[in-house]
Symmetry: C2
Subunit: 120 residues, 2 copies
């Protein structure tokens, strides 16, 4: 697995990891200390802010799983991949694409999510 | 037309404007002085660098037109839109999506293009 694949997989794992210590470890492995997340419905700043954001998503939507549904496209320190969120076994509820800027050490510095599918 | 629509339309116009003064005016209307462009095959830095990049594309692919082929999706100072590049009348040659971060005054500060369709 390439370094970028490993970082992306750790980031996806952080969304699905409900054990606080393991979630935080997955975030630390994938995101810079001052990493920022923005999408149309939520934001998080720094590892603690991202961790709180994910804990909130997991509490609000128990059992939902984030899945990467595209390849990992990257160049010039920027990455994009598409994802779905929903029950592990059912159809997705939300789908979107994350645009990521990497930090100097290859972890996520900034994530901007755009939504491609959202319940009405 | 909203401010964001106007900025995006000026940016798209800059790709298609072959008159140097009008191309530079369209760039100034859409991009910050220190704006950066990155895609897998070209880069440009600052208005002069972007202008030279566009002049190069126009010289290499005379008659090609950049068309926006999606809506303008934006939140939190970030924008995405899809585009095609090719002859005005024919099928597109290249298609992709631009992911943009806006400057404080609403112009493009950073453009990262990802490719969705490219000749083999």
């Amino acid at each position: 697995m390439s370094a970028i694949e490993s970082v992306v997989e750790n980031y996806v794992a952080s969304w699905n990891e409900t054990d606080p210590a393991r979630r935080r470890a997955a975030l630390s492995a994938s995101c810079a200390a001052d990493a920022r997340y923005r999408d149309p419905v939520m934001t998080g700043d720094g590892l603690a802010g991202l961790d709180a954001m994910l804990a909130g998503v997991q509490a609000k939507f128990p059992g939902f799983v984030l899945k990467r549904i595209s390849g990992i496209d990257h160049h010039n320190g920027a990455v994009r991949f598409s994802w779905s969120l929903g029950p592990a076994a059912g159809p997705s509820v939300v789908e979107g694409v994350d645009f990521v800027l990497l930090s100097g050490d290859g972890r996520f510095a900034s994530v901007v999510g755009f939504i491609d599918k959202m319940p009405a």
